[in-house]
């Protein structure tokens, strides 16, 4: 048998190569989805470091959806919606889509009712978070865990 140390392709080099390729592949897969950290960063970017309390916000989204390409979602916030006490904005985030933002809506006292609805896409089963920004600067949130059986975004034509 030939001297192993003289051979240009050593067992160690092969193992190191395999390890780095696997690592690279994992990195590529990860890159396509927002992680909870990315969601936190997105929340931080939009609303800063202030504390967010649970309550006042109702995020209405089915807990089990078959098709992630279109999911009815509505958000309602408890607020009198007067000139001095109203909801300024409502932001919705997700954990595992390629991008953590879903929608940000900006309202004022003229809305009369702090609520909206739309249809969203979810790439995977994950938590969806809605955060309401009040006129006094306080922040309130609601989180819903959604199970998706057919994911959006990842399918080919």
């Amino acid at each position: 048998m030939a001297d192993e140390s003289a051979s240009p392709v050593t067992r160690r080099a092969v193992l190191a190569g395999v390890a780095s390729v696997t690592g690279f592949a994992t990195l590529l897969v990860r890159r396509a989805e927002a992680t909870p950290e990315m969601m936190r960063a997105a929340i931080h970017r939009l609303i800063g470091e202030q504390p967010v309390r649970k309550g006042k916000v109702t995020l209405d989204i089915p807990p089990l959806v078959e098709n992630g390409n279109t999911i009815a979602m509505s958000v309602a916030v408890e607020s009198p919606m007067t000139a001095t006490n109203y909801v300024k904005a409502i932001h919705v985030f997700n954990e595992k889509n390629p991008q953590p933002d879903i929608i940000s809506v900006h309202l004022g006292p003229r809305a009369g009712k702090a609520a909206f609805s739309t249809r969203i896409r979810l790439a995977d089963s994950q938590n969806v978070v809605a955060i309401a920004e009040m006129s006094d600067g306080s922040l309130w949130s609601d989180t819903v865990e959604v199970i998706v059986t057919i994911a959006a975004c990842l399918e080919y034509n």
């Binding site: 809506v105 003229r110 809305a111 249809r119 969203i120 975004c153 399918e155």
Partner: protein
């Protein structure tokens, strides 16, 4: 650019909160899909929706790729005076689509 569908009550009492429903046909291409030959399809989404009531902004939404194709948005406003509600959608290519609806407030 696209077809729109707006639902605003034609008549309302002063001070009444009314619901507004809007729909626009748009692919909302995420930029993450590939075609049959493996080439990435460029991102093309509506990223901004604004509603004004007699010229005053009453609702604005920043949309992202997680909004489903043919964006459907409903929201509320207080009927303050007779006039026009204008709706404006802007997409990644800078194309703008507008629609408007009249309301009579008694």
């Amino acid at each position: 650019m696209a077809r729109t569908l707006i639902n605003v009550p034609p008549k309302a009492k002063r001070g009444q909160t009314i619901e507004i429903k809007t729909l626009i046909s748009h692919v909302m291409e995420t930029g993450y899909r590939r075609n049959e030959t493996g080439v990435a399809i460029p991102r093309d989404i509506i990223n901004l929706f604004v509603c004004t009531y007699n010229g005053t902004e009453i609702f604005r939404a920043d949309l992202h790729q997680a909004i489903a194709a043919n964006p459907f948005i409903t929201f509320f406003t207080v009927a303050t005076e007779s006039g026009t509600l204008e709706f404006r959608w802007t997409d990644d290519n800078g194309q703008v689509e507008t629609a408007s609806a009249k309301i009579t407030v008694e």
